[in-house]
Amino acid sequence: MAPQSAIEVSHVTKYYRRYSQRRQFSTLKSALLSRTVVRNLAPDQSFLALSDVSFSVPAGATYGVIGRNGSGKSTALKVVAGITKPNAGTVRVNGRVSALIELGAGFHPEISGRENVFINGIMLGLSKREVSKRFDEIVEFAELRDFIDAPVKTYSSGMYMRLGFAVAIHVDPDVLLVDEVLAVGDQGFTHKCLDKFAEFRRRGKTILLVTHSLDLVERFCDEALWLDAGTARVSGDPRRVVGEYLTAVERGEERQLAATNARALEAAGRAAGPAGGPGADVPPPGTQGPRDGFQAPAGRWGSREVEITGVRLIGGDDHASHLFHTGAPVTIRIDVRAAAPVDDFAFGIAIFNAEGVCCYGTNTAIEELTSDRFQGAGSVSFVVESLDLTEGTYTLDVAAHRRDGYPYDYHRQLHTFQVRSRTKDVGIYRPRHRWEFSPEIRLRPSAP
């Protein structure tokens, strides 16, 4: 095969019209009144979906496009498919294209699956004879032998998608464009689709894959592109692209968490009134111990004889963060201040998962660290060698209190952090572990 590219996208820019604009007209009357039937796109009336995007996909390659929602992935696919035209730039595609954008888009609900297969096949560019030739294969693939003569409106959504997928894939395109359609059908069918893609690759067909499944991109694609707000950020080796994408996503989430925590703290501070004696938010007597505080809503209370002035979560790189990976070291650093000397004090922390389940809670009194004296400003660190939590969002309670539970300063769920994990294990606690196998049980070497 000649070393040419199957898809060549160069400097493509695509605007979409914004509809919220008051100046926009959508009726004939206003068009006639404003005398501009052909609308021109001023920059403030348009949304830049793709901005000077270039990439090329070599023939026979599988190319993944990733990015957040609204980053222009689907627009890129539609431009390649020729469904929409770019406002600037050129797109060249060599060979027959089949676009899996919406499965079964042309199905008519009233007529049978059989007739829909024919019409859909013809819509996708096959001749009637070609469809007849592949008909059995299509029905076989869709696993719809018993239902093929029933009207499509009686199909379940899974059946509908399967039939749509089966037709589109049997068009036998040179270039296959796939937009996040692997989430159709059950596990078995998904595997079948992946097998079909693999077969496509073996036969030297080109696949352009838009997906949120980063795992799929890493496993399947020869090259990947990360689109961010309409611009091409990184392209090349899928692992590298996915890695950079994930880092950026984490950075964004980190910023959001920091902002959330700051807001929560500020709101709690306002509600509790000026620091000093017990505020209005002090729970009724008898519910002052941190264990009972676990039931309380988010907030801040306490007498402030010892005041918590700051809470930071510090990762292995000595930087404050809100996002950690399973197994990474974390230090919870609590800055405290006592205006007058205190001799009865304890510090505690508790970690809750998103369902509000306490994953772990402790304090210095429970752990039999006896207080002596504290005055001025200082800090307490809760050092975790390895954060063995599963993936998810967690909230943190921190408190300074008397050993009997009388609160000095109690921060209830004011701090949020996230845990990331490459393994999708479940539960609330991840014991450090490994698997061992006797020699009879052999495993394939895992991918590097």
């Binding site: 469904i83 888009a105 007529i111 819509m123």
Partner: protein
């Protein structure tokens, strides 16, 4: 544009199967199925016969007796014309899924609308023919030759208008509602329920400007009136105009084509 127009021929198979689908889907689930295409015009004819021979006899000139049959010659093609336009005005929006999600030649949709309505028209013809055989001397062969010409002219004209309307409605949704009213007016501005001879001087001049007038008169002269087809010059002129309308319609459609995927 010419390139796209030439491509249209390649979509023959697609158009054919979509028309078939349209017709099948229309009657799917009804007991009488395709017979409705016969029964609908038959019932219409019976109603008009009843109204104009029993309820309101003698309000129309003698020359257009039987009046129901006269009307029917005009109403059958008019139904084709008007429902094509009304459906076409909505067809791109209704088929938005295809245009947005599949690489699909959009002009196929209004064309399919016109053609499937034409099939209904053709299926109504046997009913008309049966009554013609009963009421009048058999058609002459020259009339039989002219009939397909009229149908062809109407097809070209309707398609041209359907293309423009479908494309413009994507941008201006008002057209759907405007059109519904225009079609009603248009019906009365066409000599269908009255003969052209009843129109006064100035009115006649205006009626002559209406292209559908000449289609209606052609159908009436061929099917209803005895004697040779005298309106052929008008018909041929209309044929030329229709080709112009079609080309203009296709031009507009082609110019707006790229906007459909975003606007529907």
């Amino acid at each position: 544009m010419l390139h796209n127009l030439a491509r249209l021929a390649r979509y023959r198979g697609l158009i054919q199967s979509l028309v078939a689908r349209e017709l099948k889907a229309r009657y799917r689930g009804s007991v009488l199925g395709f017979f409705w295409s016969f029964i609908n015009p038959l019932l219409l004819l019976l109603i008009y016969t009843f109204v104009f021979t029993v309820v309101l006899p003698g309000i129309h000139p003698k020359e257009i007796e039987p009046y129901a049959l006269f009307m029917f010659c005009g109403i059958l093609p008019w139904t084709w014309f008007s429902s094509s336009l009304l459906e076409a005005s909505n067809v791109l929006i209704a088929g938005g899924n295809l245009i947005k999600k599949v690489l699909f030649p959009a002009e196929v949709l209004p064309i399919v609308t016109v053609l499937s309505n034409m099939v209904h028209f053709l299926l109504g013809l046997p009913i008309l023919a049966a009554f013609l055989v009963y009421y009048r001397a058999p058609l002459q062969w020259s009339e039989l030759v002219w009939f397909p010409v009229v149908v062809l002219v109407q097809l070209v004209l309707t398609t041209g208008l359907a293309l423009v309307l479908s494309a413009l409605t994507v941008h201006f949704r008002d057209i759907k509602d405007i059109l519904a009213n225009v079609v009603t007016f248009w019906f009365f501005a066409t000599p269908i329920i009255y003969p052209m001879t009843l129109a006064p001087g100035i009115g006649r001049a205006l009626l002559n400007l209406n292209p559908v007038t000449h289609l209606a008169i052609s159908y009436q002269e061929i099917l209803f009136y005895q004697g040779s087809f005298g309106h052929w010059k008008w018909l041929l002129a209309l044929g030329v105009v229709s080709v112009g309308v079609f080309l203009a319609g296709y031009f507009v459609f082609d110019r707006l084509r790229d906007s459909f995927a975003e606007e529907v």
